[in-house]
């Protein structure tokens, strides 16, 4: 039950106060990346300052994530629980999507006609291709996980990389679709449908992005020979969740009209 405690006892650590600077650095970096940069750009109209703020924040973020990984991975205790914690995180994430969908449904059901004026024809082939890409990436990460279980490092790395590529392909398709829509004059501001469309698909895409970031955070240490099985499993669990959410996005946002 209490793996960490037992381990701790056996390894006979010195009773010193453990430290890590990275959580602190990461949090402060977040201040620069989000509130400061956003406010400087959108509220106060100072783009140069905003870029400066990003210039401080993003390197700090990358630095602290790297530092964190190099400290954390390889230590058995911390990631040992990540598989158990991931379901909690997924519950929280799911509720954000629930809120966005509720907002969408409210607008959708109270509208007199749908889609509202100004909506161009949205091609349905692209989302189908995207679905295929995402579903197959769910399979590849599963394969990768299995290879890991069997101790096949090469196979694990290969399927992990394939997953990253598929995820990136998904994002690419999404960007491509956005740019087409923008070109047709369909953007955030167009109407209620565009509001829902871009927020929900965009929000989902950001989850794909986070998933890919997680895989990269697994890949780099893994290439250097450090890895944590539990972290791989939880990342893959997250990826399956992102995949499932996509079904809702496709059916609700693309096909329900």
């Amino acid at each position: 039950m209490n793996e960490y405690a037992v381990e701790h006892e056996i390894s006979g650590h010195e009773p010193h106060w453990e430290t890590s600077p990275w959580p602190l650095v990461l949090s402060m970096a977040m201040l620069f990346v989000f509130p400061f940069a956003f406010s400087l750009y959108f509220v106060y109209g100072k783009p140069i300052m905003a870029i400066l703020s990003l210039g401080i924040g993003i390197p700090l973020t990358v630095l602290s994530v790297a530092g964190w990984i190099s400290e954390g991975v390889g230590q058995t205790r911390e990631p040992g629980y990540s598989v158990k914690a991931m379901p909690f995180f997924i519950v929280a994430e799911a509720f954000i999507f629930v809120a966005f969908f509720v907002g969408y449904w409210v607008m959708r059901l109270s509208a007199s006609s749908w889609p509202p004026a100004g909506t161009p024809e949205i091609a349905l082939t692209v989302p189908i291709i995207m679905t295929i890409v995402l579903v197959s990436s769910s399979f590849t990460i599963h394969l990768s996980e299995q290879k890991m279980e069997h101790g096949d490092r090469g196979g694990f790395l290969m399927w992990l990389i394939v997953t990253i590529i598929l995820g990136t392909l998904f994002l690419g398709l999404s960007m491509n679709e956005y740019s087409h829509l923008f070109a047709e004059g369909f953007n955030f501001k167009t109407n209620a449908y565009s509001t829902a469309f871009f927020s929900i698909t965009g929000f989902h895409a950001s989850h794909v992005f986070v998933g890919i970031a997680m895989f990269i955070c697994i890949l780099i240490p893994a290439l250097m020979g450090k890895m944590s099985k539990s972290f791989v499993k939880s990342a893959s669990m997250y990826w399956h969740f992102v995949d499932i959410i996509w079904f809702f996005v496709v059916t609700q946002v693309y096909f329900w009209s």
Partner: protein, 539 residues
């Protein structure tokens, strides 16, 4: 056995100490840093309350002739008190400090993530404090209703990001804590032997995990609407202003139970310790009380929207469900009283705060009943009556519980005893102050004074009552200072504290004072008979 007593006795230099504090990933130190943050937020937001009170103390402009300034004070006061003082003091400080100790774990499941949630919280404090230096500070009140929050010239983005940072911090903390409680309990610590505080923290974090994301989505859409031009809340383009209010209260109502649950759990622990008694009807308290509140808290949010134009049937439905919340909360009260029954009550400062909590929470909770009755709320909604209600439950009852817990844990945290005399004087002045202030506020509200008013030319007859409230607020301020002094005095001049000054049976008191890194020299081995409230068996 830990072989390195030497290492502990070896005094580190200042630089190292500082590093070991701010970079710490130890749950006890993180808890204390949470406490410092939340007390700082309380002090600043309390000073804002004083400014507000001075402004309202007499008719016409008093401190400022610009209503906008008042609105910023009130925004900061409300947002900081809830987001930066109460929730972090309860789910940050108390939960972090106590839960691993109470369940006999060496630390949280993810110490680094724990530090992350601490510093995200501090980032939120920094952002909130920047309110006072940026141009066009946010003035959207802690509720941030659109379309005002979209139309205002104030910086709504800062409000949104403050909520994001605090919320993300809570979610990270919640995942960590739930994992810890579920998977890291000491061998033999069965669920029916958990401290009530652990149960209630679990309940609170379940609520946080489910509802914060909805709040996050609500404020995010606000940001999109205001700065990116989407139309969630723009009726001209198919949006709906009521949608925000629903999403907001869908979180913010459960948030008040996020505040209430750990509070009352802590009160149970304090009362059991000082009455040297078992918790009365443990299963009723845990499943009926805490479980009931958790289950029911998600279906009553419309009681904040009784006047806002929701359909009538839903207002009636949520009136009934709100009234029914008095059942689980009433069971918790019965559990508290039952714990006093045939006890051996010892009146230390923390116990006084716990007793104060019982009385004051009764007033606050029972005045939730008129708010809950739709027809009555049509008059008292958004008047100072509601303000008085929630100050009684939050500013008074839960704040009492927080101060009481700080006194209760003072020996364990600092290794020193506070002065009972100073502590008790502070308590009685505070007790007088809050009642003068907030009871009078009920009358002002009953006479129809709406809230968030910078001035009240239309109600000149209320000036006298407002004056009394302001005097009460000064008294609270003095009491807060005294309490702070009693803590500083304890830190500097207090006697050395023994490991278990209160004679408690609960695990957090079995380790040395203050607890070493890793909490327990040897992990506690729990016998069949052991129970955190196992008092009175021997006699």
């Amino acid at each position: 056995m830990y072989a390195t007593e030497e290492a502990l006795r070896h005094k580190p230099g200042f630089g190292q100490t500082l590093r070991e504090w701010i970079f710490t990933i130890d749950h006890k130190r993180i808890g204390i840093l949470y406490l410092i943050g939340s007390l700082a937020a309380f002090a600043v937001a309390g000073l804002m309350a004083l400014l507000i009170r001075i402004e309202l103390g007499s008719l016409g402009p008093t401190l400022t002739s610009n209503p906008g300034t008042y609105n910023v004070w009130l925004y900061f006061h409300g947002a900081a008190m809830i987001l930066a003082f109460q929730i972090p003091a309860l789910t940050g400080f108390l939960a972090n400090y106590l839960v691993p100790l109470m369940i006999g774990a060496r630390d949280m499941a993810f110490p680094r993530l724990n530090a992350l949630s601490l510093w995200l919280y501090w980032a939120g404090i920094i952002l909130a404090l920047l309110t006072f230096v940026i141009p066009d500070p946010p003035d959207v009140m802690w509720t941030g209703y659109p379309p005002y929050s979209l139309k205002t010239g104030g910086n709504t983005a800062f409000y949104v990001f403050t909520v994001h940072l605090m919320g993300f911090s809570s979610i990270v903390g919640g995942i960590n804590l739930l994992t810890t409680i579920f998977y890291m309990r000491a061998p033999g610590l069965k669920l029916n032997k958990l401290n009530i505080f652990v149960w209630s923290t679990m309940g609170a974090f379940v609520l946080q995990l489910v509802f914060i994301p909805v709040l996050a989505a609500a404020v995010t859409t606000l940001l999109f609407d205001k700065y990116l031009g989407t139309h969630f809340y723009d009726p001209a383009n198919g949006g709906d202003v009521l949608l925000y209010q629903n999403l907001f209260w869908f979180y913010s109502h459960p948030a008040v139970y996020v505040i209430l649950l750990p509070t009352i759990g802590m009160i149970f622990d304090i009362v059991a310790t000082f009455a040297k008694n078992r918790v009365f009807n443990y299963n009723m308290v845990v499943y009926g009380g805490i479980g009931g509140v958790v289950l029911m808290s998600g279906e009553v949010w419309i009681h904040h929207l009784f006047t806002s134009g929701m359909p009538d049937w839903i207002r009636i439905g949520m009136m009934i469900s709100t009234l029914l919340i008095s059942i689980p909360v009433g069971l918790l009260m019965i559990g508290l009283l039952g714990t006093l029954y045939r006890g051996a009550i010892q009146y230390t400062t923390p116990m006084l705060y716990a007793v104060g909590f019982i009385f004051l929470f009764l007033i606050g909770g029972l005045t939730g009943i008129p708010n809950a009755m739709t027809a009555i709320d049509l008059y008292i909604h958004d008047t100072h009556f509601v303000v008085a209600h929630f100050h009684y439950v939050m500013a008074v009852a839960t704040t009492f519980a927080i101060f009481g817990s700080v006194y209760y844990l003072f020996p364990k945290m600092t290794g020193r005893m506070y002065s009972e005399t100073l502590g008790k004087i502070g308590f009685f002045i505070l007790f007088a102050g809050v009642n003068i202030t907030f009871f009078t506020m009920f009358i002002v509200g009953f006479k129809g004074m709406p809230r968030r008013y910078y001035d009240y030319q239309q109600f000149p007859q209320l000036e006298g009552l407002h004056h009394i409230i302001t005097i009460g607020a000064y008294i609270i301020g003095i009491a807060a200072l005294l309490i702070l002094i009693s803590w500083i005095h304890g830190l500097i001049a207090g006697k050395k504290a023994p490991d278990n000054p209160w004679g408690s049976k609960s695990l957090e008191w079995t380790t040395s004072t203050p607890p070493p890194p890793g909490n327990f020299r040897e992990l506690p081995i729990l016998t069949e008979e052991w129970h955190p409230y196992g008092y009175g068996r021997s006699k």
